[in-house]
């Protein structure tokens, strides 16, 4: 795909056919059903146990994809307490109150799918079914765009750009630590998708990458953030003006051995060189371990002459003066902060809770005290999708 046309349609087109959604869920053995709620911005609602957020999309052929603007499909599930290697972390969205400012979902119409696990369904099958149905619902919701006129069409094409402009690549990290902590490239786990490799930048905006990573909520890159990637769209926008968009490299976060981390970092840097990039923006997915992948990639790029800017979230204790990065290399001299995930958001009592009344730690979602930013879906995501940042006070 060399050109993508994204046609935007207004949220007024949204028709939620609950029985059709029921049918999609009903076809999955791992699901016992689904509850559907539609909530609007400003409603005193808290949504819990969120796995992912997806924008309604429909590919209509000829390089064109329709999207409904201002709508998100949120998938929620409370995994049964089965023994499993990796555990989802609490993730929520507040549509009002002090937490509303931390996620863009508070200004969207949210179609909330609360899935009921099927009897005896294991977490692997359950997760797969939830992801499959959520993406199918996102497609279903975009069906009415077939017969409607788009409000506007964004065209993503890399035309000619002057050689004198600096060439900039995006190096986008995708988590893969195992089931529940995995991002998918064309449906394949990032760890099995032959990463790092260069892909068409527009493919990212066309749902080539989907999120199945449920670790720290604020550090996630929900699918919608990739479909609407601020980074890739801004690079397209600047292409031919202040820079040349050299390309997009997808890399894996959570490479599992020191050797693999080093190798992947060097290969990603090599791909940036092959793309002719003089500069690279390196993003991060998840936290801790994956910050090492980010930092090694930064170092590898700088060593082969590709200058870098790195986007990371901070994990600074409110009472500490340390930004709390879990890894750092001296080459990372140009870091963008996507906010401090440890800061507390003041307590707020929603009138209604969707997704599940009890938080994963068993406490009441309605009566919860101050909650750290890290529990808000995508709030400190490290693709630079949002405007949150930390500064020194």
């Amino acid at each position: 795909m060399s050109v993508l046309e994204l046609a935007s349609f207004p949220a007024e087109l949204l028709r939620v056919d609950v029985s059709a959604i029921d049918a999609l869920a009903g076809a999955e053995d791992a699901l016992g059903g689904v509850r559907v709620d539609v909530v609007e911005p400003g409603e005193p609602v808290r949504i819990t146990h969120i796995l992912d957020a997806v924008e309604p999309r429909l590919r209509v052929g000829g390089g064109r994809t329709n999207r409904i603007d201002g709508v998100a499909v949120l998938s929620c599930v409370d995994f049964p307490g089965e023994e499993r290697p990796l555990h989802e972390q609490e993730a929520f969205v507040d549509l009002a109150g002090p937490g509303a400012a931390f996620t863009p979902f508070s200004s969207l119409t949210n179609v909330v799918l609360t899935f009921v696990p099927g009897a005896d369904a294991g977490h692997v099958e359950l997760d797969r079914a939830v992801r499959r149905v959520t993406l199918a619902v996102a497609e279903l919701l975009a069906e009415p765009t077939h017969d409607a006129e788009p409000r506007d069409v964004e065209r993503f094409e890399l035309g000619p750009a002057a050689d004198t402009l600096p060439a900039v690549a995006a190096l986008v990290q995708l988590s893969d630590l195992g089931q529940l902590y995995t991002v998918y490239v064309d449906g394949v786990p990032a760890g099995e998708a032959g990463l790092p490799r260069a892909v068409e930048p527009a493919a990212l905006l066309d749902t080539a990458v989907t999120c199945g990573e449920y670790h720290w909520a604020a550090l996630r890159n929900p699918t919608l953030f990739l479909q609407r990637s601020s980074l890739v769209r801004a690079l397209f926008q600047e292409h031919g003006k202040r820079l040349r968009f050299a390309g997009l490299v997808l890399m894996r976060g959570y490479e599992q051995t020191a050797e693999d981390k080093q190798r992947a970092a060097e290969r990603a840097a090599g791909l940036a060189v092959e793309l002719g990039a003089g500069g690279a923006i390196i993003t991060t997915d998840g936290g801790g371990n994956s910050h090492t992948d980010t930092m090694l990639t930064c170092r590898a790029c700088e060593r082969v002459g590709v200058r870098t800017a790195v986007i990371v979230a901070e994990m600074a204790d409110p009472d500490s003066t340390n930004p709390g990065l879990t890894d750092w290399v001296p080459e990372a001299d140009c870091i963008v902060s996507s906010g401090n995930a440890e800061e507390l958001v003041p307590a707020w009592r929603p009138e209604r809770v969707l997704g599940g009344d009890a938080l994963l730690d068993g406490t009441s979602a309605q009566e919860a005290g101050p909650i750290p930013v890290r529990n808000y879906l995508g709030a400190t995501n490290q693709t630079g999708h949002l405007a949150l940042r930390a500064t020194t006070w």
Binding site: P85, L86, H87, Q89, A101, P166, V168, L177, G178, H215, S229, S230, L231, A234, L235, R242, L243, G279, A280, I281, G288, N289, R307, T308, A309, I311, V312, E314, M315, A316, D317, P318, D319, S320, T321, P323, G324, L325, T326, W328, D333, C334, I335, V336, S337, N340, E342, E343, V373, T383, G384, H385, L386, A387, L388, R389, A390, T391, T392, W393
Partner: protein
């Protein structure tokens, strides 16, 4: 009116110059010296007393002086403390910083941003001033503005908004542009020769101690892999541990399957639980001990969960474990990370 106490050195309190620098802590009724100008600019705040101390006295009897000053301050029952301005004077600035940092009530000190005493202010606010007394005219209204805001209980704005020096705390706010747009901006600037950053990461670089001869050394096993005796008797959390644990090894030569497990919530522990020596390599180290390649293995291993732990907390764990190890004569550590 909110009651405030003002701290000054001997000179600004009018007790004398260098010849009075040995004056011990003294209470003076109401506002004196710069306190008068300050009082005139304060809103809703009354300086009920001034506490003064000689620069030499504070420097030479620091803890004693501080205790006496705090006693004099406390006797006034203040809700606010203000110190200085100390401008560029290091000893005076240090005393101001320590007093406001220790007073137990909201407060601020004023001094030049390069005053060496600034670091002692910790979480207390420092209002920047000029480097010499010529900066008095500017300093007093700024101190008054911030003190009045504190007295009114208003939520503090950013350092720029409220006119104090950044203390280093990282606070969130919404920027005008997304992180991606800022990254492009910063990268283009870097490519054009100007490198800027939003995060001053600067890790601690710890000078390692002199090398030991392993064959003669006592070695301890330390891990953040969340390795605990089966059943997790001390309830080590799987994320965000609040501390660390120490488990006696007795004469064990290997961490037997089923007797130890990992409670770490940040990685797949299946392989670790299959053979806990993959978490804490006791079996291998015992072999090395048998071969004389390791002098002696310490009789306990140390464990915590390194998952989502704030850096400040893990720094504390590290310091505490290191102290404990040193007290027990351990000279080397094998740290297995995950």
């Amino acid at each position: 009116m909110v009651r405030a106490v003002h701290y000054l050195n001997q000179f600004f309190a009018g007790l004398g110059g260098e010849e009075a620098a040995s004056t011990p802590p003294t209470r003076i009724e109401g506002a004196v010296g710069p306190g008068r100008g300050l009082a005139a600019a304060l809103e809703g705040v009354e300086i009920v007393a001034t506490v003064a101390c000689g620069d030499d006295f504070f420097a030479e009897h620091e803890e004693e002086a501080l205790a006496e000053i705090l006693q004099l301050v406390e006797a006034e029952g203040p809700e606010l403390i203000v110190a200085g301005p100390a401008f560029g004077s290091g000893r005076y600035g240090y005393a101001c910083a320590r007093v406001v940092a220790s007073a137990g009530v909201p407060g601020l000190a004023a001094m030049h941003e390069e005053n060496p005493g600034r670091g002692a202010a910790g979480a207390a606010l420092v209002v920047p001033t000029g480097s010499s007394v010529a900066g008095m005219r500017d300093a007093l209204p700024r101190m008054a503005r911030l003190a009045s805001a504190l007295a009114a209980g208003r939520e503090l704005g950013s350092p720029d908004e409220d006119g104090y020096l950044p203390r280093g705390f990282r606070r969130n706010h919404l920027a005008e542009r997304t992180g991606a747009e800022r990254a492009i901006e910063l990268l283009l600037a870097k490519l054009a020769g100007t490198t800027r950053t939003e995060v001053d990461a600067g890790f601690d670089r710890v000078e390692p101690p002199a090398p030991v001869t392993l064959a003669a050394a006592t070695l301890a096993l330390v891990t953040e892999a969340g390795c605990v005796p089966q059943g997790n008797p001390d309830r080590l959390p799987s994320i965000r541990a609040a501390g660390w644990l120490r488990y006696e090894l007795g004469g064990e030569i290997s961490l037997a399957t089923g007797r130890y497990e990992s409670v770490h919530g940040g990685f797949d522990v299946t392989l670790g639980n299959e053979d806990p020596n993959r978490l804490v390599p006791l079996d291998t180290v015992r072999e090395l001990e048998g071969e004389g390649r390791v002098g002696r293995l310490h009789e306990a291993f140390y464990t915590t969960t390194g998952n989502g732990t704030p850096v400040a907390a893990s720094t504390r764990f590290g310091q505490e474990i290191a102290e404990d190890l040193r007290a027990r004569g351990v000279e080397a550590v094998l740290l297995s990370g995950t």
